[in-house]
């Protein structure tokens, strides 16, 4: 009976080690990547990303240009690289602060005058060539075009547009737990260590059995993290999302690939540590009597441990 209880307690503790170690890995991922502005800024800092954003804005400007009769070059010239980078940084920091529950979400705005001034210049130059003077209504039209263009830029800079989702119930229910989940990793690590200590105590002097159970727990945690991530990599799902907009696809792909890599790494680490330790325990330094199949006390009439 005592042995049964001991085995039951060991199983429960192994389960606790598995759950808490996986929770720690997840929580640390949320803290370091998912809710970290540095992570997103790292993706956005890729020159390839900014080029794609500018290309998307250029395509919108082409369309705008066709409607308003202003060459697309005039719009393109109004794009200020440093301003775009600044907006992107402001946007990411604002979105991440909101997700962390630190501040309300605000969208950065592109300074309208940066677009309006070149458009005014073009209007005046065209009027001069035609020997006319621009009418007040045309200036008003240009103001509208400049506002539209600034809104277009804002649309492409705000890669995580929280205004679209932040009032939705599904988002709110996730958002409620998100800021707290990033701090779960410290209690999760403490619980893991506690469960490991209890497993060691439970097995007393039989340190091999204790270590065997601890390493089995690590091996299982590693497998649960590693194997699904390997399957995900084999199916290639992370790179096959049907997103047409290039820069957005790049952003989402980068986030998913990072997630895949992170869990693969932690899974592989736990799996390898568990595998090597278990193999060593099963092959090296086993007592000769056990190795030969002899069970001390098994055939002894004095053995009362199970009674």
């Amino acid at each position: 009976m005592r042995n049964v209880l001991k085995i039951l307690a060991s199983v429960i503790l192994i389960a606790v080690v598995i759950v808490s170690s996986i929770a720690a890995v997840f929580s640390y991922y949320i803290r370091c990547d998912l809710l970290s502005s540095e992570f997103y800024l790292g993706i956005a800092a890729d020159s390839f990303y900014m080029e794609m954003v500018k290309h998307s804005i250029h395509l919108e400007f082409e369309s705008q240009s066709s409607y308003v009769g202003i060459p697309v070059e005039v719009f393109d010239a109004a794009l200020d690289d440093s301003q775009l980078h600044l907006m992107l940084r402001e946007h990411i920091e604002s979105a991440v602060n909101y997700l962390n529950g630190l501040a309300p979400y605000t969208e950065p705005e592109y300074p309208v005058e940066l677009i309006r001034d070149p458009l005014y210049a073009y209007l005046e130059q065209t009027a001069k060539e035609q020997g006319t003077v621009p009418a007040k209504e045309q200036y008003a039209q240009i103001d509208l075009v400049a506002l539209d263009s600034a809104a277009l830029i804002q649309k492409y800079i705000c890669v995580i547009d929280l205004n679209l989702v932040k009032d939705r119930t599904a988002f709110q229910s996730v958002f409620h737990y998100l800021p707290n989940s990033k701090d779960v990793y410290i209690p999760a690590i403490l619980v893991t260590l506690g469960a490991i200590a209890l497993l060691a105590l439970l097995n007393g002097k039989d340190w091999r059995s204790g270590l065997n159970r601890i390493m089995t727990a690590f091996w299982l945690s590693g497998s649960i993290l590693l194997v699904p991530m390997l399957a995900l990599q084999i199916t290639g799902l992370t790179g096959r999302l049907s997103i047409e907009t290039g820069y957005f696809k790049f952003f989402v792909d980068s986030v998913l690939k990072d997630m895949n890599r992170y869990f693969l790494l932690w899974g592989a680490l736990l799996f390898l540590v568990g595998s090597v330790a278990l193999l060593l325990l099963k092959t090296v330094g086993r007592p000769a009597a056990k190795d030969s199949g002899f069970r001390p006390g098994e055939y002894s009439v004095n053995n009362l441990s199970d009674k």
Binding site: S66, A127, S223, S242, S292, F294
Partner: protein, 239 residues
Amino acid sequence: MNTREQCPKPVRRSGTGKSIQLLIVLVPYLLFLAGLFVLSLGIFTWAENESILSVFITKRDQPVFMDLNGLDASGASGATPAPLQKETAVTEPDETLVVPFYYYGEQIGTISIASTEMSVEAYQGDLDTELRMGAGHSSVSLLPGQDGNIVFAAHRTSYFKPLQNVAVGDEVLFETTYGTFTYKVREIRILESDEFSLITKETEKEQLTLYTCYPFTYVGNAPDRYAVFCDLVESELNT
């Protein structure tokens, strides 16, 4: 009897025996890994094909967006649309004419006006995507051969810029994937924004309406519309 005498003698196991023993120990671990892998693969395959997520995932061997050109109106898969046919037989548009179904962004044909050297590709739909490629067909209007108003729009700064040089009586040739239709310009009108219904209004006779924003050189959102109304003169359906 002495207890020790009851104990069996220790049996020494060979190297092969040890290997087999180790293998037997490993089997449950390997089975667990295999099970976990199959389960994960199953979940991802289900997510890819059966779940709501499937709409966000593309097949590896297909482009990001499926080419819908190969589907007919019923949605059944078929061959890609035939290129513009050159061999045609002279016919009158009649009730037996079957006009193909065009998806948004699919090319219907080419509109040419020889007098202004204009040649514009015509696409189904008049959204930004189609207007970037050429003239866009208002999908609420009809198509050549359907005895009604056929409305096409394009930008005044690019594809329909030559319309400003069109004169009444000029010939407009519309080569579609199912036939060639010849029209003659009947009327050119400059319409204000509240007169837009004149462009899209239903007609009893076949009419091709080409329109763009006006004035052509206006800087800003041009307030008016420049519309060219054409009557059908001749039609040749592909054999």
